[in-house]
């Protein structure tokens, strides 16, 4: 048996560009997948008339890791480590979405303390993700110093994550039924110190960019998206709110106790790159509000469920309880079974609606786990937004829809 070969000819791709490209009147330019301004391994095929974009054809999949397929071969608990690797700037958020889906599928309770800590980390992660976005999107528009400030602050958040989970980025801190460990004693003072300094830092960022004439010139009226188009194309997150649609899953379908916290959803009507920038800057402040409230009323109590059929017993019990040894052994060798049914759980990631579709088949491994990732859906509007703009503006538009290629390609 010889290897099957599939021939791809250029003719099959001809319908993607205009007639003018066939005659050589417009130029075809390959941008990426190693271009620094595509925020990862995104490849764009550009059809250019002079410096104006006529057509933009995204080519994704360079970071495809087959995580959905791999999850089908592992138990519910062991699959979770891979969810970190999807959207590597939103690891806590991915863990949260996955854990919520598993908990819904098997009907598992989560103690209040665990829920509150989850909210704190999810919001800190949102700030960290927006900081990377602000730094890199600013860098694309030649604002060098903001990048350094943003990464300095992000490092403080990663330190807090390391303090509790042992890892800066690939945390796997949330587990089905609660958390891996309780937070450390230094956690609360560290978070308070961070939120106290960070609210002033946000003002500093705004001082650098919000009224900077070069920045305004590069972002206002660029990449306009109307609210109607955004909904039709399934765009969610700050890109949707920048188009004037007040839609945030933390308010719409509250999960993990978000209904207890008082916060606003920033929206801007313009739908351009600048509006999306303003939404994310405002979200820094709202996330700080949520973290502060959650810290103030952080409940005491267990940090994970006491349901031993799904959650392993504490290490200390293994020495003197036979039952605990059995549960521990069963959970780490066989895993726990989930019913033959499916759930779809959406959460608000820093980029939009992150949904997990999880189907069980009665056994200990997921039968199917589908990730509705916001970057994948939001990236589809790039050709529409970039038509008629300069190549330099295309860079600003890619930055403004905030994609993470690990999230696009999965």
């Amino acid at each position: 048996m010889t290897l099957q070969q599939i021939e791809i000819t250029a003719d099959e791709l001809k319908h993607l560009v205009s007639e003018r490209a066939h005659t050589g009147e417009t130029m075809l330019l390959n941008m990426g997948p190693q271009h620094p301004s595509t925020h990862g391994v995104l490849r764009l095929l550009l059809e250019l008339d002079g410096e104006t974009v006529v057509n933009c054809i995204p080519d994704v999949g360079f970071l495809h890791t087959g995580i959905e397929k791999n999850i089908e071969a592992k138990t519910y608990e062991k699959s979770e480590t891979m969810t970190d690797r999807l959207d590597y700037l939103n690891t806590m958020g991915n863990n949260l979405a996955y854990c919520l889906a598993v908990e819904k599928l098997v009907d598992l309770d989560v103690p209040e303390r665990a829920q509150a800590i989850r909210v704190i980390f999810a919001e800190l992660q949102r700030i960290a993700s927006h900081l990377v976005w602000l730094g890199t999107a600013g860098l694309d528009l030649a604002a060098m110093s903001i990048f350094l400030y943003c990464f300095r602050e992000r490092e403080k958040i990663l330190d807090i994550m390391e303090m509790c989970s042992g890892q800066r980025m690939m945390t796997t801190y949330f587990r089905p039924g609660g958390l891996w460990r309780d937070t450390t004693a230094e956690f609360e003072p560290a978070v308070r110190a961070f939120i106290d300094t960070f609210s002033k830092q946000v003002d500093e960022y705004e001082g650098l960019l919000s009224n900077n004439p070069i920045f305004l010139d590069r972002t206002k009226n660029i990449g306009k998206l109307t609210g109607k188009d955004a909904i039709a194309w399934g765009v969610t997150g700050p890109s949707l709110r920048g188009s004037g649609v007040k839609y945030d899953l933390r308010k719409e379908e509250p999960y993990s106790g978000y209904e207890q916290y008082d916060f606003d959803i920033p929206t801007y009507e313009e739908g351009d790159v600048y509006a999306r920038y303003r939404v994310r800057i405002d979200e820094f402040r709202q996330s700080l509000r949520i973290v502060r409230q959650a810290l103030d009323k952080l409940p005491k109590g267990p940090f994970r469920s006491n349901n031993r059929k799904f959650v392993p017993p504490p290490r200390a019990e293994l020495g003197n309880s036979m039952e605990a040894v059995i549960h521990h052994f069963k959970l780490w060798t066989e895993g726990f079974p989930a019913p033959k049914a499916s759930v779809y759980v959406p959460v608000e990631s820093p980029r939009g609606e992150l949904g997990v579709f999880l189907e069980g088949d009665g056994g200990p491994k997921p039968y199917r786990c589908y990730w509705r990732t916001p970057s994948f859906v939001n990236l589809q509007i790039l050709p529409m937004l970039s038509k008629g703009h300069f190549v330099a503006d295309l860079v600003a538009i890619i930055g403004s829809i905030d994609i993470v290629l690990g999230d696009v390609d999965r």
Binding site: A232, G234, S342, G355
Partner: protein, 170 residues
């Protein structure tokens, strides 16, 4: 089931012969493959499900009737409703109508269905692979597609290892 979702599900049942079910408060209806475009149009225009939130599929191999379920997640933003629509598809080379005319963002989702499950999407303007390379053989998320390690092939045993490599049954 949510009280405002009940009349919508009843309407789908009477108009499109849909079958409804519920699990942990999430409503799901099964719609026949030839009715899905009309059902989606009615969901969008009549019941104000303005967003196609997600589109994916499940493979029930070795069962062949139906072998696949295409799973649509629709979102009604005004009334905060979600509805799952499942479309059963028989056989190894299933065909599915495109939903691009109703929800334009179905485009990439359907390319992913073709890439990962091998659904022939009818009337799709640009049905190419999206995540896997263009010259890839097989559809990775099918259940008969092997997931496992690769033996290292050298020049002296290339053919021998090639013989026993698991392959997708296309």
């Amino acid at each position: 089931m949510n009280s405002s979702l009940q009349p919508i599900v009843s309407d789908l049942e009477s108009t499109f012969g849909a079958k409804a079910s519920e699990f942990r408060g999430q409503a799901s209806v099964v719609v026949a493959p030839d009715k899905i475009v009309e059902a989606a149009r009615s969901l969008r225009d009549k019941h104000r499900f303005d967003m196609l939130s997600a589109l994916s599929a499940v493979d029930y191999w070795p069962q062949l009737e139906p072998r696949f379920h295409a799973v649509y997640q629709f979102k009604n933003m005004a009334q905060k409703l979600r509805l799952e629509v499942r479309v059963p598809l028989n056989g190894n080379e299933p065909q599915l109508d495109t939903l691009i005319d109703v929800y334009p963002n179905a485009n990439w989702h359907e390319r992913e269905l073709w890439d990962m499950f091998g659904f022939k999407i009818k009337n799709h303007p640009d049905l190419r692979r999206i995540l896997m390379p263009e010259d890839w053989v097989g559809h990775p998320l099918r259940k008969d597609y092997p997931l496992g390690y690769e033996e290292v092939q050298f020049t002296f045993n290339f053919e021998e290892i090639d013989q026993r490599k698991p392959r997708p049954k296309d």
